[in-house]
């Protein structure tokens, strides 16, 4: 893989484009004409955990104006993925498309618009966009990649190796869904409970002695998530309850990102995390009243500082 197209140049797309341009020929598909022009003229600056200016080989709003890529990273917001895939319909027929949206079901959205080969992925890295040509790299967590329609574990490993060579973190799986769902259920539970109580992920999350102990709620939330996974035909890689017990038994007091967001009064990712689980529940006919309640409460908390 030597030619990569990054489609959608928000925070995540900009980070992929800038880093990958150090090891591959990178083109960028933007939504706005002036954004494409600015990238062509000025390149893309990265600050934060890295500091460099990348040159992209081409940028345009029309896929036809870009060179044929081997790998296309779809990096729009989850809500814009459908429109983005529609724009690509009929283009890049030989490329592998890799959506990186948080949550679930991105591959199905993309598959509606063409018969591209697909890789599944999810990225946990984060940053802040300062301008069309400047992105700050904040959280250097990994991107997970696995085979999907028409691709193999080797191709997932190849994509992960390319991303890792560029300086970002990436990990390949022979099957992504079991790992992804374990992490999603764990994250949806721990993040929302932490955001609402103000507790870091500590021993309270595993306590079951008294009837009001938080462990009961945590376990009930995880059980709801497991029921959705089972209905979706996913065999979990790790039991999220065991992940919870392990993380809290070690005595760590991790601050989940959603708690940090709430304390800084930023909009959280609850729609992407808990929301994904709630949407999957609805799709598979599994009731998820507890995750639904927590989703509503976190959205309410966001509304309190709007």
């Amino acid at each position: 893989m030597t030619r990569v197209c990054v489609a959608g140049a928000g925070v995540i797309g900009s980070l992929f484009a800038a880093f990958l341009s150090r090891v591959a020929e990178v083109s960028v598909l933007t939504r706005r004409e002036e954004h494409a022009r600015a990238l062509t003229e000025n390149g893309l600056r990265v600050s934060g955990r890295a500091d460099f200016v990348a040159r992209v080989s081409a940028a345009a709003v029309d896929p036809a104006a870009l060179p044929e890529p081997e790998l296309v990273i779809l990096a729009s917001k989850a809500n814009d993925l459908d429109a983005l895939a529609a724009r690509l319909s009929g283009s890049f027929g030989d490329a592998i498309l890799m959506p990186v949206q948080n949550g679930l079901g991105a591959d199905e959205i993309v598959a509606r618009h063409g018969d591209w080969r697909l890789l599944s992925s999810v990225t946990f890295m984060s940053g802040t966009r300062h301008s069309d040509t400047h992105v700050e790299y904040i959280l250097d967590t990994a991107t997970w990649i696995g085979p999907d329609r028409g691709t193999t574990g080797d191709e997932a490993r190849e994509a992960a190796a390319l991303i890792a060579a560029s300086g970002l973190k990436a990990e390949a799986f022979d099957e992504l869904r079991p790992a992804l769902w374990s992490k999603l259920i764990f994250n949806a539970t721990v993040n929302a409970v932490a955001a609402l109580t103000g507790l870091p992920h500590d021993f309270h999350f595993g306590q079951l002695e008294r009837e009001t102990d938080l462990g009961h709620l945590v376990r009930d939330l995880i059980d709801e998530g497991k029921a959705v996974a089972a209905a979706a035909g996913v065999e979990l890689k790790e039991d999220p309850w065991e992940m919870n017990m392990l993380a809290t038994r070690r005595g760590f007091r991790h601050y989940p990102s959603m708690l940090e967001d709430v304390e800084a009064r930023r909009t959280t990712e609850v729609d992407m995390i808990t929301g994904a689980l709630v949407r999957e529940g609805a799709r598979h006919g599994v009731a998820v009243p507890l995750h639904t309640a927590l989703l509503r409460l976190v959205k309410g908390k966001e509304a309190s500082w709007e």
């Binding site: 709620l217 507890l290 309640a293 908390k301």
Partner: protein
């Protein structure tokens, strides 16, 4: 008639000041806050706002000073019922003791120390603004009735209700006082924790459709627990919730539980949501929504110890 108000906070003060206006009622106010007690004995107990009243009850922090009383009116926060009634019970050896507190379980706590107990529910509200001075925010009705497990005679409940009404606090005595009590408990348990967890005022909780649906879910669980005990609600709590959300009523009101959380004080969640959960268990009614918000609010309280 001699009446002792046990716990002379905002609600207790409304009863003490109004009853003290009557020539035929001798009113005592028992409270642990020395400044408030001293101010009452020096200048009287003054209400402002919804009514302008200055009453002259005799206030004390020393239970030994209390004379034998015909009636007690317990108005402490629910978590202090047991200690306050244990300290003052000697004054009610021949009298009847009523509660005007929030939540469930207060009658049971009083009955551990007193023979004749009056179940009660009151809607007026206010806040202490200075020692001896209470802002009367909302007028409203009170209902008394014999507590089934250790009943005071209905005639005694009527005698106390008559005195309250003549004093300016409209009060009815009924044979079964559970209906109004459960209406208020369901109202509080369905709305207070949502305000407390999100930071939203009552009106803002109600105008967010997803949160409003969560309120209804909690109301429905509460109604099911009431129905399992054959309690007939005197009105639908939903009506009270919507009425209170009006701009001219309590749109901007921060639930007492939110005020407690902002001040990092223990909340009454054990007696509201915890009460509904407890009665639900006893009568085989599942209350997953109340279980969850109870655990979350307890989690918030636990986070202060970090």
């Amino acid at each position: 008639m001699t009446v002792c108000v046990v716990g002379c906070g905002a609600v207790g003060s409304l009863f003490a000041a109004n009853l003290a206006r009557l020539d035929d009622v001798e009113v005592w106010a028992y409270d642990l806050a020395r400044e408030h007690v001293d101010a009452i004995n020096r200048n009287g107990l003054r209400l402002t706002g919804a009514g302008e009243v200055t009453g002259r009850p005799r206030a004390t922090s020393d239970p030994a000073e209390l004379p034998p009383c015909d009636f007690g009116i317990v108005a402490t926060k629910a978590m202090h019922t047991d200690a306050a009634v244990a300290a003052t019970a000697h004054a009610f050896g021949n009298g009847c003791v009523a509660t005007v507190q929030n939540g469930l379980g207060n009658e049971e706590a009083i009955a551990r120390h007193c023979e004749r107990v009056i179940r009660g529910t009151t809607f007026p509200a206010g806040k202490i603004v200075a020692p001896g001075v209470v802002q009367w925010d909302v007028k409203g009705d009170t209902t008394f009735g014999p507590f089934e497990e250790r009943p005071a005679p209905l005639a005694e409940a009527e005698r106390l209700a008559d005195a309250c009404t003549r004093g300016g606090m409209p009060t009815a005595a009924v044979a079964d006082a559970r209906g109004p009590q459960w209406r208020k408990v369901i109202f509080n348990a369905a709305t207070n924790p949502l305000g407390a967890l999100t930071g939203l005022t009552h009106g803002r909780v109600c105008e967010q459709p997803p949160l409003r649906r969560l309120v209804t879910q909690l109301v429905d669980e509460g109604k099911a627990v009431a129905a399992a005990q054959r309690i007939e609600l005197d009105a639908d709590p939903e009506e009270l919730i919507d009425y209170a959300a009006r701009p001219e009523v309590a749109y901007d009101h921060k639930a007492s539980m939110l005020q407690d959380i902002e001040a990092r004080r223990p909340t009454e969640v054990d007696y509201l949501n915890g009460g509904i959960v407890g009665f639900g268990r006893r009568h085989g009614v599942a209350t997953p929504g109340h279980d969850s918000v109870w655990a979350l609010v307890k989690g918030v309280e636990a986070s202060w110890a970090q």
